[in-house]
Symmetry: C2
Subunit: 260 residues, 2 copies
DNA sequence: CTGCAGTGTTCCATTATTTGGAACTTGATT
DNA sequence: AATCAAGTTCCAAATAATGGAACACTGCAG
């Protein structure tokens, strides 16, 4: 199982590495656990963690395990609220949801992951806020593949080269070749699909969004359970999904970058 | 007149101060704007911001203004998902919502602010995720006053002393004396109320939650529009709100701190 | 076209902070 | 009471941050 990353850019980078270690662990970590996962000496790590706790980025539980601090929630709340792209997309997501009755996602590409920025769903009873802020691999999500398809070729190759393909389900794309092939298809059709490639029984249709210069790419998707959403139904949403994406891009052009 | 901000504990603290400046601004800031708001030399600030962007905590927009980075969303998403207290409270919030039909909040005390950890509401059409991660002053929210009432006296006095009272509405508590008086009342009754003290037309009934040692205090509330929720109705929810808080505390005792 | 002003970016000797090893404390377990 | 592991503190040495000033870029006005 992987050690940490090699991104130790200055003090800040190291501090965030510690946060990342704690964020990534499925199980609560105590001091020595973190010590083993990081490659820092005891004294150093201890001071780092103390600082992080002081700043509210980490919390010290009573059993001496560490958790993420509430300061993060506060900052994220503002990050979300002040995100122009999300604000522009919101009404279009809403409309797409009304047209389909299924869950609609907005995600942006970050490295070789998709991070979900917004979500509109009908039944709130289950896991209301679960998706926003979550990340998923590009190569097995509709939004991810849609976003990739909007990248310039050189960028695309660079990103694909970094991916470590892992099989989530029987239909997960197995390697770079299959992914490249599918990207070509998406570029022609204008839509990406996820047919139970990440989670069993979950499928979606997606469409790409990009800024003029294609340095910023994102995607939207309509998602539903495979037992209810047949391939034909999915297909039938392709057009309105593309239309919603186009509408968002049109709004971006006018409301962002007043001096294009 | 207090000193300016003295929260500059090390490099990390300064970096977060920059993040805070950008998070707090209602309007996008460019480099020189931040420079004016921070008291750091140009070169230093520039490197700090560069590092923060590198780490994903800030974003550089194309018009050279800065925004909060998506890394924050990712971390916050995990912070929220892995928060034991929130997970324990969740079903109780749900039940309280079913009993009242109104919006239910869970908030914890942090300094002299309340930070909202969770929310269950009926109509999702408006501003779904708006509340979680938001902060509000203790002295004019039901959850805040409830949480305060659970603090030991010395802690209570210390916190109250830090508050700068500001009038949000006609019924906002005006000063420390009024607040102390109300806290006494809450301690006797077991419930706190907010009668349009923060926002016009918003009122709520709340109940305190605390860990055994009272170093951790929080609160839950049932909130609704004043035009629909009469004082009598509000009063009628006091009991079930207290009951929900009690149930959460009972669960905390068994599920947290396995080695009390 | 040229100079000007406002912004953003880079450089590097000085300075202050972080580092890391070891010693110390705590508190559970035998 | 002794032992061991986990957590905390300390300080000289190493390293990273600082901050002042110079450099570049951009649009604007003469």
């Amino acid at each position: 199982m992987g050690k940490a990353r090699e991104n130790s850019t200055g003090t800040l980078g190291k501090a965030l590495e510690v946060v990342h270690i704690i964020a990534s662990s499925p199980v609560p970590l105590r001091f020595t656990d973190v010590l083993k996962l990081s490659d820092q000496p005891r004294g150093t790590l201890h001071r780092q963690i103390s600082n992080l706790i002081e700043e509210g980025l980490l919390d010290l539980n009573r059993d001496h395990s560490y958790g993420l601090g509430l300061r993060l929630l506060e900052l994220a709340s503002r990050a979300w609220a002040s995100n122009d792209f999300r604000a522009i997309a919101e009404p279009h997501l809403q409309r797409l949801h009304e047209q389909t009755g299924e869950t609609v996602h907005l995600g942006v590409l970050r490295g070789i992951e998709v991070i979900y920025l917004d979500k509109v769903e009908s039944r709130q009873s289950v896991r209301m806020y679960s998706q926003i802020g979550n990340t998923a691999p590009v190569y097995c999500t509709g939004v991810g593949k849609a976003a990739l398809s909007a990248l310039p070729d050189d960028e695309l190759q660079a990103r694909i080269a970094q991916i470590a393909f892992r099989r989530f389900t029987a239909s997960t794309l197995p390697d770079a070749k299959a992914l490249r092939q599918e990207i070509e298809q998406i570029r022609v059709e204008g839509n990406a699909y996820d047919r139970e490639e990440h989670e069993a029984d979950i499928c979606c249709v997606a469409a790409p969004i990009h800024a003029n210069n294609r340095h910023f790419v994102a995607g939207i998707s309509v998602t539903g359970p495979a037992y209810r959403i047949t391939p034909e139904v999915l297909q039938s949403w392709a057009g309105i999904t593309r239309a919603a994406a186009a509408a968002i891009m049109a709004n971006m052009a006018t409301r962002l970058s007043p001096r294009a």
